[in-house]
Amino acid sequence: MEYRYSRQEQFAPIGKAGQERLSSSHALIMGCGALGSACAEILVRAGIGAVTLIDRDIVEPSNLHRQNLYAERDADGSVPKAEAAKERLLEINSAVNIHTYVIDAGSDQLDKLAPRCDVMVDGSDNFDLRFILNDAAEKHGVPWVFGAAAGSFGMSCLFLPGELPCLYCLMQGMPDGAMTCEASGIISPAVQMTASFQTAEVMKLLTGNTGALHKKLVLFDIWNNTQQQFGFSSMKNQNCPSCGTVPEHPHLNKTARSSIRTLCGSNTVHINPGEEVHYDFLMLEEHLKQHGKVKKNEHLLTCLLPSLRLAIFTDGRILIHGTNNPDEAEAVYRHYIETAAYTAEKEPET
């Protein structure tokens, strides 16, 4: 009977040597939404040694049309994405080491986790996080592959610290008017194509095929059948705060603070209390069950209110499904949760 990776080793640029390199490599997957789960599946099937999965969210029914690791039972059970992804990935390839973090990762965590991996894969849905990834990559000399998709568009680009200009050199600041899944929707072929570009670069890198690296940003529209590639080697800015001669890594030095954010592509607001908050889940359950049906699993407590659904994580973060309005979400938080909670300051777990 044939060896599991025989068809991949038969691909001459990988071969036995490349497969061995891949099997001793470690990828960090930042975000387990559409792109993160597609990239994680490809790399785990390909036989990477280890992946670290980071995601703050739970599986929702509206994720299922494009997020390939999840099944209906994950949405029904409100399972955190990183945990649901891990379960499926182990069914696919039990030899891969899988580490999960169900957290709202910021600069502190990425500063710690980046030096432990060989490459970071962007599965995030916002540029705040991408600039943190970019700074962590530059500070620790770890390559990372940017990916984004919305509507029928997608873009991807590998960044190589020390060799190529960085994301900040290219964008020179936070973009405004970037396309989101919220506004433009998203179709699954655009996701899979973006992930194909991302993982092809990761596989080249981890199997030692650096000569084949693309070193261009690729942009496509799969509905209108266009694809463009843009070189960026001339964009290196010696004064870049992220990768210049005197780097400050400004996005790594932001202190964690409380935030209330609308999530891309789901009618949901995410509340991060800033410091870690520990709820008394029994007390909270008693309190909330006066208002709606309460369910608990090992990761979180959910409460179904008349028009909203609350999901409260053990680290204090809250998802409020059924609204895009941060003000409404904050009012709900103050009304239903804050009063029932007590706070304990602690170091992040990572």
Partner: protein, 77 residues
Amino acid sequence: MINILFFARLQEEAGRESLHVEKAGCTIRELKEWLNEEYRLTGLNRTMTARNEEFTNEDAVIADGDTIAFIPPVSGG
């Protein structure tokens, strides 16, 4: 004559994929200002720009026959 390509959001705003105009000799910055006035394209300041399939900065001067692409970022994931 130069050739301008629009992608993603800008394609929708401009209502077209490309544009041919007599703008050789001006800088990328000047071209962005002109497009903002003529076509009411928003957010061009924060839009990545490529000249002949290579990223370029706003001081670059556009030559006759150049293709300029505006690449507004996609954010979802």
